[in-house]
């Protein structure tokens, strides 16, 4: 038995600023570590994360006292088994790869082109606030089937939900903003449902209404919230991290722009390097053992995919951004029944459209001050801003 590292010293602020040195230590010394500040056992090695993902009968997505349930209700993300499968099946049609390619890519392309058109002449922008965020929101509003919602609406709803789901400080103002967003989104969904019931289209809400086992209006309202929560942050951060990675690695950028390395590799490396969702919760429902650690029913787990993605047992030089590394089994999309529903939307809209549009149409794109770029978060992580210039 080695001496346990001092996990009591780990603060949420430190994780927020840069979780990777902490995770590296935990992987080496205490791979299923009780971290008091997080109130959870953090699972940090690739093989143990995989084991948790593959065993939902031991590690449940249903969490007692879940902040997410309090914030946005019992969505499919906090359900298991048949109940989860039913909700997912109803939503899945529009986000499967063929539907994405045939029905959604043209729309995603128009959204990206319109945003870049508006930027070209300006010669400078914050790529997070002026491109990645609005693009993710525009794509998501269309995909969901909420045409009346502006990208600004979608972004503010998403942020309100994300903040609510992470409101560990129990800040009443955060709860209020979240409740307001729930009410506004419910109204938007209620406005959309009667038309989509009569006129089915390629959207997610339409799919939920017309599925073989259709969802009730209440189920649709509830589950749209999780799509809004997840569908902005993650693509925004994936675009931003990929852009940051290429802008700070000129040789790799040359490789990509000359076609030697595909955009697909840039996207996969970006989400491996800095997984947009770094940690998600599970709750132990029967006594078990993981990596030598005894766990009891009721224990809370943090599945740290951002650490699994930098596990030196699986990836060489894991802290380096390297689009030329061999494709590897990163876990940025999670795994098992909850495998990210937006995976194929993200791959197509980011690797296929957003990144080529940015780097292809903004000549001489560069960071104003690479040293000023700050990333934050360990549950969700991405650059806060990317101030750039180009020749206009």
């Amino acid at each position: 038995m080695t001496t346990a590292p001092a996990t009591a010293d780990i603060t949420l602020d430190a994780l927020d600023a840069d979780p990777y040195p902490v995770f590296r230590r935990l992987r080496a010394e205490d791979p299923v570590a009780w971290v008091p500040a997080a109130g959870r056992f953090l699972v940090t090695r690739h093989e143990d994360v995989l084991a948790v993902e593959r065993d939902q009968r031991t590690f449940s997505s249903v969490e007692e006292g879940s902040l997410m349930n309090r914030a946005i209700g019992p969505t499919l993300l906090r359900q298991d088994g048949d109940a989860h499968r039913r909700l997912r099946a109803a939503a899945e049609g529009p986000v499967r790869p063929r539907a994405v390619k045939e029905r959604w890519l043209p729309r995603f392309r128009r959204n990206a082109d319109a945003l870049v058109d508006g930027l070209v002449e300006r010669g400078r922008a914050d790529l997070v606030a002026d491109f990645a965020g609005p693009l993710a929101a525009a794509n998501l509003g269309a995909l969901l089937g909420l045409p009346a919602a502006t990208p600004a609406d979608v972004q503010s709803w998403s942020q309100a939900f994300i903040d609510g789901c992470g409101n560990y400080a129990d800040d009443p103002e955060v709860w209020q903003r979240c409740a307001d967003a729930v009410r506004t989104v419910d109204e938007a969904v209620d406005d959309a449902i009667p038309f989509l019931r009569e006129h089915p289209d390629d959207s997610v809400v339409s799919s939920m209404l017309h599925a073989a086992d259709p969802l009730t209006d209440e189920e649709i309202r509830t589950n749209v919230r999780i799509f809004l929560g997840g569908g902005v942050n993650e693509p925004r951060d994936a675009i931003s991290v990929a852009a940051y990675g290429l802008l700070t690695h000129p040789d790799q950028r040359v490789d990509v722009l000359s076609g030697r390395t595909p955009w697909k590799a840039v996207f996969e490396e970006a989400v491996r390097w800095v997984a947009p969702i770094g940690m998600y919760p599970r709750q132990v429902v029967r006594d078990t053992e993981l990596a030598g650690r005894r766990l009891s029913a009721g224990d809370r787990i943090g599945v740290v995919v951002s650490s699994a993605n930098r596990d030196e047992r699986v990836f060489d030089d894991p802290d380096a951004f390297d689009v030329r590394r061999p494709a590897g089994p990163h876990l940025a999309f999670g795994g098992g029944p909850h495998f990210c529903l937006g995976t194929w939307v993200a791959r197509a809209s980011i690797a296929g459209i957003a990144l080529p549009a940015l780097f292809g149409r903004l000549p001489g794109l560069e960071l104003t001050d690479p040293d000023a770029v700050r990333m934050a978060g360990w549950v969700f992580r991405g650059p806060l801003a990317l101030d750039t210039t180009w020749s206009s």
Partner: protein
Amino acid sequence: MPTITFRQPDGAELRVDAPVGTSVMKSAVGADVPGILAECGGQAMCATCHVYVTDDRALPPVSDEEDEMLDCASAPRTGHSRLSCQLVVDEDMDGLTVLVAGEGP
């Protein structure tokens, strides 16, 4: 119980007991067969359990969902490509050999 052999691109083989009624993917994952990541847990959503089956014994037809997902696999799709999560083990599969596609070249 039927046994299925998983052959790696480098020729290494692993023979695995495969309970009738489970998927070929599950039997591979249970035995830690390299190259069968099976990210999505068997819902034909990720294409990371891609195998080549050249044995001509009857296998179930490729569904629309399996078909679209095989188009997304990292290793090249061939006429022998299958998602191992969509192959349910039966007694007739005893002795089957499948080639793990993995990440491709």
